[in-house]
């Protein structure tokens, strides 16, 4: 049975748990697959290493946490150092190129672009960096269609921020396609 594991990691407050939730929702509600999202974080509201894991499968999912990660996002050096140890051979690692400079060695594909700066400069608001990253993860993993992922994004954000998030998602998607080309 197909079992695809994603991990969104970074610092608490970067919105990575939200990104994981939207990815899982896209798979579970819009793509017709099954998905489980879980998270682990410290007692801090901001800062500290944080991760959100998403398992996507065509059938029922038993163990809800990652066993061998297919695709991993690291938004800080700390998260990259802490959470890439179980990245699968042949897996995908997406990092923010401004913040993660010491890259791990291993038999996986590394894709990097300045995610936070893209949100700040190209989209116009740093706060949507998680949605830029989500767009990129959707493009790189191919587990859910672009359309279904966008539906999940737009159904998860407040009305007033729909256009901002649509733009963030789209730019993230395109940047990852270009960086991965």
């Amino acid at each position: 049975m197909s079992r695809y594991e994603l991990r969104f990691s970074g610092a608490g407050g970067q919105g990575l748990i939200t990104a994981g939730i939207i990815m899982a929702k896209a798979a579970s509600i819009y793509e017709g697959k099954q998905a489980v999202q879980s998270q682990s974080y410290g007692p801090e509201a901001r800062g500290g290493a944080s991760k959100s894991e998403v398992i996507i499968s065509d059938g029922p999912i038993d163990y809800p946490k990652a066993t061998s990660v297919d695709a991993l996002l690291a938004m800080t050096q700390e998260a990259c150092d802490k959470y890439t140890h179980d990245l699968k051979s042949g897996g995908i690692l997406l990092v923010d190129s401004d913040l993660v400079t010491n890259l791990p060695k291993g038999n996986f594909k590394i894709v990097s672009f300045p995610i936070i700066n893209t949100a700040k400069n190209d989209v116009g608001r740093e706060i949507v960096a998680n949605i830029v990253a989500l767009g990129a993860m959707v493009a790189l993993t191919g587990q859910v269609s672009r359309e279904n992922a966008e539906k999940a994004v737009l159904s998860s954000v407040p009305e007033a921020f729909i256009e901002l998030n649509r733009k963030a998602f789209s730019i993230g998607y395109e940047k990852a396609m270009a960086a991965n080309a």
Partner: protein
């Protein structure tokens, strides 16, 4: 017509399940990792004319739900370890005064404030032995978001049917993880109403056992007057020290659960038909166990899982039967051996019991369970 679905956390599903069961009063004090129950119900209860109260602490919250229940409300509180400790005296009050209520407790690391954001299964003994004195205990341990929704409904039903507090205890992983929930239609899952008096107010006694082990409970404000106390009581609710009566009443309270274990105890048997090694698991740990059992089967090992859905009353009968047939039990749990003690008690030395105990805030992974399955000879 397709059913309504949503992508929810275990805690959010618990709140929605409570609403389905007819919960119309919630009192609580926020605590990680159960706060989302309060968040949802504070928004939803006022819409249906229910009441949401944030109390000054966990003790007051427990007192508030007991009081509200006596007026006929269907009541819930939610908490986690330290809050469960604080609630214990009043949980005992609910048991002796026979007040239906549901206590939702998310298990995090302990004792004391422990590890607020880490998962644990170390409150299962507290569910039975936390309050002093002999008393009935019912505790449900869901393993998925959908099951959390459904078990909250069952908890309300059991609390009304047996007129006693019922606990629902997901571990932090189940409480915080998100999965798709398919909502049942109205009426699809039965909702048990409270047994009301059939006699006029002047003849009513709140503990009149001529109506059976579970006497009808009148609602305050409906014209029925009666006395409620934490002291051992007579049929009219007033305190008594009459030896024969106290003995009979204590036994009846415990019998409400003990004589009905087949109605209350639920479990899942997974690949047990020819199993030589049985993993007994509950909550999120059962999901690791299922994964491990599947891998073991692929490797030709005859492994199976007995998944506990109702922790109290404990599935004694089922474990005793298995103990006579298998080579050994493997018990993975996020505590230092609480369920294992119960399994050893039920196995009566007929099969070895191998524990995997983890209290470091990390889940028990399938590999750990698989390794232990292979240790059973």
């Amino acid at each position: 017509m397709s059913k309504k679905v949503a992508f929810l956390q275990g805690n959010e599903a618990a709140a929605h399940g409570a609403l389905y069961a007819g919960c119309n009063f919630f009192a609580g004090y926020p605590i990680t990792p159960s706060t989302e129950v309060s968040e949802v119900l504070s928004a939803e209860l006022p819409k249906i004319g229910g009441k949401f109260m944030q109390m000054e602490d966990e003790i007051a919250a427990m007192a508030a739900i007991l009081g509200a229940s006596l007026t006929g409300a269907k009541v819930l509180t939610s908490t986690s370890g330290p809050g469960l400790s604080l609630k214990q005296e009043l949980i005992g009050y609910g048991c002796i005064a026979e007040i239906p209520c549901v206590v939702y407790n998310v298990m995090r690391g302990g004792p004391s404030t422990g590890m607020p954001t880490g998962p644990s299964q170390s409150d299962v003994m507290c569910a039975k032995w936390g309050t002093h004195g002999d008393h009935p205990a019912i505790c449900l341990v869901p393993a998925s978001v959908q099951e959390t929704y459904e078990e909250i409904i069952r908890a309300f039903n059991l609390s009304e049917k047996y007129r006693t507090p019922v606990m629902v205890m997901p571990d932090e992983i189940v409480a915080h993880m998100r999965e798709r929930v398919v909502f049942p239609e109205q009426g699809e899952i039965g909702v048990v109403p409270r047994k009301s008096p059939t006699v006029p107010p002047e003849q009513y006694k709140p503990y009149d056992t001529s109506f059976g082990d579970v006497p009808p409970l009148a609602a305050f404000g409906s014209g029925y007057k009666f006395h409620v106390t934490g002291l051992n009581k007579a049929a009219d609710g007033f305190p008594t020290t009459k030896a024969s009566l106290v003995q009979a009443e204590e036994e009846r309270q415990v019998r409400k659960v003990d004589a009905n274990v087949d109605d209350i105890v639920t479990f899942e048997e997974y690949m047990l038909d020819d199993a030589e090694v049985v993993v007994v698991a509950y909550g999120s740990t059962s999901r690791s166990a299922r994964y491990a059992v599947n891998v073991a089967r692929e490797q030709g090992i005859k492994a199976g899982m007995f998944r506990i859905k109702t922790f109290w009353p404990f599935p004694d009968k089922q474990i005793k039967a298995l103990a006579g047939k298998v080579k050994g039990f493997v018990i993975p749990e996020m505590n230092l051996g609480m369920c294992s003690l119960e399994i050893e008690r039920c196995a009566q030395g007929k099969a070895p019991v191998l524990g995997i105990f983890r209290v470091d805030g990390e889940p028990i992974n399938p590999d750990q369970i698989l390794d232990k399955i292979k240790e059973v000879k």
